[in-house]
Symmetry: C2
Subunit: 431 residues, 2 copies
């Protein structure tokens, strides 16, 4: 065979593998949809136990990934995301147990009512079906996403980053062992068994109509590609360009504590504040200490003229800065004309992810909360709370900024649909 | 200018008009999202009043459409859909008043809880934004869809069928008068001001990112095109291939009454039963009367061998019949091996729209209700109840069979999203 023919044959074989995975997942989804809460929870417990028992094998697989990654000269930040140790493996097992501890969303009666003709109507929660998750280097997503899909009665098809392929395969092995122990089909959680990038395109096409949803977890270029090319619904956020606005009625001590945390606790997460807005009415008193805290914490500050005036270390901000999600120790700072100025700035430059107001005045705060059209709006709290775990959902598969289906943190309950069950006694429709 | 240049210039002009409509709708949506329930209800009352007051003008516009339609040799069924009279205009006004009488969905707190750290989290209902509705000949959709979108705080961009253009324009004029009287922007309900088919393609592209949702209402070819080409989320159903299954435990009198209604009350609606399944255990006793009722009501019956045996008027069914949504006085009839046989048939051939079981045995019925993966499942009632009005939603913009966002009848509450409002007292995220 010529090289081209070989490539064609390989692609055809991959396509066959992927389609078979899709159909097996759909068959598994039909079983999961009818599985009892107890059976799913039994599997989750067994999965957590298997991860603990398989620790040595998972660490060995991870060492292989780390070695390849180092040889490829991957950045320290990416190496850190990829690395597993005893603590991170225990955290994975605990995460599965936390998901297990959540209420089972399936079968819940979301609403029920009776019609004048005696028909009894209920809206009952059902799973979505088969969910494809495309992610990058963190191997723990394999466990989180697999467990969340199982809890919500969905089959999962996982496509991890090629750098974490050995780690994810080992973790996936533990998950499958847990599924088997509880008598659930292996195909309930499938890991795409190749690092071939063509597999991603096949997932985006929907695997012959077997995929119901795709969740991309990773950088902007991955999410952009998925949103552009997917032929199935997508839950995602492209950017977390989050704002914290300090109002004239803010308690300065509270504002300093929150702003520092919102920006610097972790700079690489989507809920990190990227732009600080300060009410012009308190710029004279509040701007300097807020900026000083950030600079002292080794955060680069890019400010408008007023901000530049308070400290020589402040760099000038350009129009582009208001549009930038740094995901780094950099912040843009701007003085605005009160809450209306803040709302106008956020609606112009924001990404509708998470935005906060620091204010003592309830009327101003409630105005901000109602006017800002973002998935999460906060009053007197750090934007870093934008997280399913912090919301009490046990875990999240991601955060969505679209308005369709689910918005904000996506936990087990958000990975569901519903159906209408109507019970009658012989009613026919008149007219 | 050459003909091609003229076409290019016309297309550019249409594109400009459509984009401007999208941006105006988005600006109106921002106002609607903050409008009070009282203001929206005032507009709905004024809209109903305006339709009644403008009756003569609407009838005159409709006469023009009817004249053109007759000249174009349009079928009697389509002419009937297009025709307006005093009664239908009054029904339109009443429909708006029924939508007005529904509870305002916007601002409702869907859930709220407090975290151990004192953060108070609420999930609050918000509108989707701008909804595009693409429909065919029924002019009343203009009033229904406009009113439903307004009630749910969304702006609407309506694209009616070219045959009903004059009628829809007249009705739209009345709606706009109602909006103005309540101080709401005209662009809250926009009617695409042309019959140029290129406008549909522009809607499917999303009007420069201004559209949040498209709802197609019409035949399979329209819905298919929208689902294939739309770059924005779509709520729709392609087919209503609905089944009624008569179990061995069915009360025969009830079954006869329900089957006749489910098929023949109206044959052209999506909730009409297309296939009748009869339990083999009672085929000897129940099949003949069920089939005779249908034949006597002038319904063509296409049956399997067992069904053909009960009456010489029964025609043979082919495999294709089990896949066919007739939307006509034709029914496919098959004898199946009990409830499991019915479930297997429906899951193989059905469209996940609406399916019913007639049975006295509760265990059998509940098994069917849980196993059938359709938007609506019914026990001892006619599939023709698949309708937002019959569900008590006041009205529906359509029925969705996808699992994403909304399933079943789509009323005002289903045309919404939510946001998370988090109220704190200085909380920062640890760790």
């Amino acid at each position: 065979m010529s090289k081209l023919e070989t490539m064609g044959a390989e692609r055809a074989k991959l396509e066959e593998t992927m389609l078979a995975a899709g159909h097996a997942a759909r068959a598994a989804a039909a079983i999961l949809a009818r599985a009892s809460a107890a059976q799913k929870d039994r599997a989750l417990s067994a999965m957590a136990a298997a991860i603990r028992a398989d620790k040595a094998a998972i660490l060995a697989a991870n060492a292989k990934d780390m070695e390849i990654a180092r040889a490829n000269g991957i950045s320290a930040a990416l190496l850190d995301r990829l690395a597993l140790d005893d603590k991170r493996i225990e955290a994975m097992a605990k995460g599965i147990e936390e998901i297990r501890a959540q209420e089972d969303p399936i079968g819940a009666i979301l609403a029920s009512w009776e019609r004048p003709n005696g028909l009894k109507i209920s809206r009952v929660r059902v799973p979505l079906g088969v969910i494809g998750i495309i992610y990058e280097s963190r191997p723990n997503v394999t466990a989180d996403a697999g467990a969340l899909c199982l809890k919500s009665g969905n089959a999962a098809i996982l496509r991890g980053g090629s750098e974490s392929f050995h780690s994810s395969s080992a973790i996936h092995g533990s998950l499958v062992r847990g599924l088997k122990e509880a008598g659930l089909p292996e195909a309930a959680i499938t890991l795409v068994p190749t690092t071939d990038r063509a597999a991603v395109g096949m997932l985006l096409e929907g695997l012959g109509g077997t995929l119901d949803l795709i969740v991309p977890r990773g950088g902007k270029s991955l999410v952009e590609r998925v949103q552009r090319e997917a032929r199935v619904p997508v839950l995602a956020h492209l950017e977390g360009l989050c704002h914290t606005y300090v109002d004239r009625t803010a308690n300065l001590d509270m504002a300093r504590k929150i702003v520092l945390n919102a920006k610097m606790r972790r700079t690489g997460i989507c809920g990190a504040t990227e732009t600080l807005l300060v009410d012009q009415a308190v710029a004279k008193t509040d701007l300097a200490p807020l900026v000083k805290d950030l600079l002292d914490a080794k955060c680069e500050v890019r400010g408008d003229a007023a901000t530049q005036a308070v400290d020589p270390r402040v760099k000038p901000a350009t129009e582009q800065d208001w549009y930038t999600e740094y995901l780094d120790a950099i912040i843009a700072v701007r003085v605005v004309a009160g809450v209306e100025g803040a709302i106008a700035h956020i609606e112009t430059y924001g990404s509708h992810h998470t935005d906060a107001i620091i204010a003592d005045d309830a009327k101003t705060a409630e105005h901000f909360l109602s006017q800002i059209d973002s998935a999460i709006v906060l009053w007197n709290a750090s934007t870093q709370f934008a997280d399913g775990g912090e919301f009490g959902m046990g875990a999240e598969i991601g955060i969505a900024t679209g308005k369709f289906h689910a918005r904000g943190p996506v936990g087990a309950a958000e990975l569901t649909s519903y159906k209408y069950v109507v019970r009658g006694s012989g009613q026919v429709r008149p007219g």
